[in-house]
Assembly symmetry: C2
Homo-oligomer: 218 residues x 2
């Protein structure tokens, strides 16, 4: 049932599919069986055309004019986004941010699971936090190999983040999400996303300031 995959799906569309899916799941739980493009769009503050275009890009179309079948669409998005096998993730840095991410995330998706944490704190190493076993960072390569981990989430202090790059590469990690403020460069072949919380705060602050100074029309 996986669509033949025509041509590459844009990054932005992938992001929105992930968001659509969450809304659709929540609709499904509420017993909603069909949904119009403009309703789905409204939930996300975007236009109906945008939604329809995204669905077109993934090759989805509804046969009926009563809106999209929620259950069918969820399945379709699952087929696009989810990997066949469960994808295993590791958290590097099991401080408050690491724990927050773990508890926000685990259990939410069937095809992704945070299976290991890494830290240097001797009070954490060797224990399990929120049911996630915590290892010393030095054993990254072995554990990644043993547990078949493909993605690493960096939630360590910013200062130690740069020193993680080489170990992560050597461990054979395929994807990285970096939540620290240190911009990290990984070689071609590793999917990396820098997701710096400080930057968002500063960005919002800037546009608030701008709105205040200028266009704040009555």
């Amino acid at each position: 049932m996986t669509p033949p995959i025509t041509h590459p799906i844009p990054k932005k569309t992938i992001e929105r599919l992930s968001e659509y899916r969450r809304s659709l799941l929540s609709c499904h739980e509420q017993g909603i069986t069909h949904i119009f493009s403009h309703i789905l769009a409204g939930m996300h503050g975007i236009t109906a055309v945008q939604v329809r275009r995204d669905l077109m890009l993934i090759g989805f179309s509804s046969d009926t004019k009563k809106g999209y079948d929620v259950k069918v669409l969820i399945e379709f998005i699952n087929n696009i986004l989810d990997s066949r096998e469960v994808m295993n993730l590791a958290i590097i840095g099991m401080g408050r941010l690491g724990q927050a991410i773990t508890s926000y995330f685990n259990g939410k998706r069937r095809k992704m699971r945070i299976v290991a944490a890494f830290d240097v704190d001797p009070t954490k190493v060797g224990t399990a936090i929120d049911n996630i076993p915590c290892y010393h960072i030095d054993s990254l390569a072995e554990v990644v190999e043993q547990m078949d981990i493909s993605i690493a989430v960096i939630s360590s202090p910013t200062s130690v983040a740069p020193s993680l790059v080489v170990p992560i590469i050597n461990a054979g990690i395929k994807g990285v999400i970096n939540f620290t403020s240190a911009p990290l460069n990984f070689p071609q072949g590793i999917v990396a996303e820098n997701y710096d919380i400080t930057t968002v705060l500063e960005k919002v602050a800037y546009f608030v300031k701008e709105a205040d100074e200028n266009g704040d029309k009555s």
Copy 2:
């Protein structure tokens, strides 16, 4: 010294300015006084042209050909990004994510400060966590008014996030960063950024899967 501000600066450029600034500050600490565009670019995994274009857009240019003067450039970016007065922020949801954000952020920037937290947990309300006083969410409007808070960071459980929208609007908040998975719609006039951690994880997972299935050239 604030530049006359020609025409609106793109969102993406603002994000990068925030990132450049952090790198420049770290260069400055190390005693580096001048930096070439291609060096700065390399730190962020982008091209030198991109850096120069960004600086062009904010009206910065170097008189010397020995690279950009680090200190001068930092000051220039400060003038763009920072507000004149300190901007006060509130955290809504003082769980692990809220605490993590607070400790990651506070003290980092002179012109932004997290000054209050809101929660419903009676063991938290009335106390101070990491030196941030914690109030009950019901007193949002009063505290926002009293403390002159303009930005709210939502780090509550996803399930309660939708119920925060109206109180936030009524409290007169000007900017919102939403870290939950619930897409929130705020009216025109409020700067809002949805910053969903789950989406990033799913996005990276997708592109890892894609790289695995297709182009993984030797």
